[in-house]
């Protein structure tokens, strides 16, 4: 029997009752929310369960919602069950002043650099990560550039005079 979104939802609800919430299916992919301290438990359950078998971490990234007070940062996991070919996505929200999340590196080696990237751009602190330092940006950088408070430069600005490159 093919694994359906309904079935995944049922299994998750059996295990975590109402702690996993906000089930949606945008464009066919099951999406749900998990409290921030449960992320590793949910990942482990999805990985180990003989029926669910979500053993491939497709990608991991963060999103910044500055207006979402107390839940400014969302960390989004995309998982893939390669046997039944089902993808799911789940999100955890965290306060931007204390963005501490458990690392998934113990489960997925792929999470290592993905989490470093997420730290690099959003400042999410992955607890237990073996080497949490900047990866794409310079080490001296003292801010997290993908956060929404750093807008891209306005392209119509005229105060800059750069003869070499012209503006």
């Amino acid at each position: 029997m093919a694994l359906t979104n309904e079935r995944i939802k049922q299994r998750l609800t059996e295990k975590f009752s109402d702690q996993v919430s906000k089930f949606e299916e945008p464009y066919g992919m099951l999406t749900f929310q998990v409290p921030k301290d449960l992320n590793l438990k949910v990942l482990n359950f999805l990985y180990d369960d003989e029926e669910l078998k979500f053993r491939f971490l497709t990608t991991l990234c963060a999103v910044h919602y500055p207006d979402n007070k107390g839940r400014e940062l969302a960390i989004v996991y995309h998982l893939h069950n390669l046997v039944d070919n089902v993808r799911i996505r789940f999100k955890i929200y965290t306060d931007i002043s204390q963005p501490d999340i458990y690392t998934a590196t113990g489960l997925f080696s792929a999470a290592n650099w993905l989490e470093r990237e997420t730290y690099d751009f959003y400042g999410v602190n992955f607890i237990g990560h073996p080497n949490l330092k900047r990866i794409l940006n310079v080490d001296e950088m003292d801010y997290f550039p993908m956060r929404k408070e750093y807008p891209l430069e306005d392209q119509t600005r005229t105060d800059k005079d750069d003869e070499m490159f012209g503006r």
């Binding site: 497709t58 990608t59 990234c61 995309h78 080696s109 650099w113 990866i135």
Partner: protein, 407 residues
């Protein structure tokens, strides 16, 4: 005591291993990234990768760009197969916007994407040869990459960073020269590829250099998030084209070649076989394209005026086209709110686009799943305990593209 002119770090005389900086601009890395290797003689004790030298903040830039201006950003990720990135991006937008693509456009896209796959694999495989000391194959295959580039040039006007296609289809129909060149390619390339194969495949020196080096097991590869030829070389038959068909790949017959050991030789073989499969797909797609007759044979884009940029001729002569042109360029078209993940089988593996739209003119958040970035983490595990010269081959057979890694 004589003045010491060279200042060495403390403990470096007593140390029994050698630190070697491979890169960031070493010719053997074929891209800008650095490896700090700790060597015991010629054996690698540990390797630390540093990346980010050509990071251009595409994800950030994309948050201020209307959709059609993000296409050129995607070009610059895996620049060896830019059209696949472009198509992946168009498919993502089309999924979000709910655009239905005509079959002929799908098939034309497949021709372009498979040509890109061949261009990608032929570079990778011949570079493995170069790093093993055989330059001939590289120069020989290069003229066929040139021919592929000429085909793209006929279609979109550019060669390396193609910016090919639009949301909804192509900017113009393929002209006769493009099809003639495609026929030439289909006719000549198999012979050349065969010759290239006989130069390497059973070559004793090449086999000795590549077999058993840089190997990874299927479990480790999956755990490391490998996709594409590198995963298939380890024996997992995961291919996005088969698992989640896009752009009508389900209409085509092709095999997914898999290896067993996941070493450099298997990666080379898988890429080689994939080129044959791509040739067969292009042939099938070309036949399918030729079957369209009359008005159907002229279709090269979907009928979605609210997203598809009208041709310049129409913009200057037709009121309606002018209005649409203005609305698209100024970002007056409302995007649906939602989030979408779309992936395509890129040259290196699953190239994914995670697109969150809040209804504005630019994405609220756009995340690229770059296969290269994810599997390069495994490099240390692949080369540890091996020889330095094998690490060079491992690096080229993984097909690391700095542009994709750093985004």
């Amino acid at each position: 005591m004589v003045d010491q002119h060279i200042k060495l770090p403390e403990g470096s005389i007593e140390k029994t291993t050698t630190t070697l900086n491979l890169g960031p601009t070493h010719p053997a890395t074929h891209g800008v990234f650095q490896n700090i290797l700790e060597l015991d003689g010629e054996r690698i004790v540990s390797a630390e990768q540093t990346i980010g030298y050509i990071h251009r903040a595409f994800e950030k830039i994309a948050e201020r760009r209307p959709l059609y201006q993000i296409t050129p950003l995607t070009d610059r990720m895996n620049y060896c197969s830019a059209p696949i990135n472009n198509m992946g991006w168009h498919l993502t937008c089309e999924k979000l916007l709910g655009v239905k693509i005509p079959k002929r456009v799908d098939y034309l896209r497949i021709i372009i994407m498979e040509l890109a796959r061949i261009a990608d694999h032929l570079i990778c495989n011949s570079i493995v040869g170069v790093d093993a000391g055989a330059y001939t194959g590289f120069l020989y295959l290069m003229q066929y990459r040139e021919l592929i580039y000429e085909i793209w040039e006929e279609i979109c006007g550019s060669r390396l960073t193609t910016n090919i296609g639009r949301i909804g289809g192509f900017e113009r129909n393929f002209n006769d020269i493009a099809f003639q060149k495609l026929e030439k390619f289909l006719k000549e390339y198999p012979k050349v590829l065969k010759e290239f194969e006989s130069l390497f495949q059973r070559n004793r020196i090449f086999m000795d250099r590549t077999m058993g080096t840089g190997a990874i097991s299927a479990e480790r590869a999956l755990n490391y998030g490998f996709t594409g030829p590198n995963l298939r070389a380890a024996g997992v038959d995961y291919d996005v084209r088969v698992h989640t068909p896009y752009s009508s790949y389900e209409d085509f017959q092709f095999n997914v070649p898999v290896g067993t050991t996941g070493d450099n030789y298997d990666r080379w073989l898988v890429r080689e076989q994939e080129m044959w499969q791509s040739l067969s797909i292009i042939e099938q797609a070309y036949h399918k394209v030729q079957e369209f007759k009359g008005a159907e044979a002229e279709i090269y884009h979907a009928d979605v005026p609210e997203y598809y940029l009208p041709s310049k001729e129409d913009v200057y002569t037709k009121m309606e086209a002018l209005i649409w042109h203005f609305k698209i360029i100024m970002g007056e078209i409302d995007m649906p709110v939602g989030e979408v993940y779309q992936s395509v089988e890129g040259g290196n593996g699953e190239l994914g686009f995670y697109f969150i739209s809040d209804g504005g003119r630019a994405p609220y958040r756009l995340h690229f799943r770059r296969p290269c970035f994810i599997y390069y983490q495994a490099f240390e595990e692949l080369v540890k305990g091996g020889m330095l010269s094998d690490a060079i081959i491992t690096m080229s057979s993984l097909n690391l593209i700095a542009g994709e890694m750093d985004s």
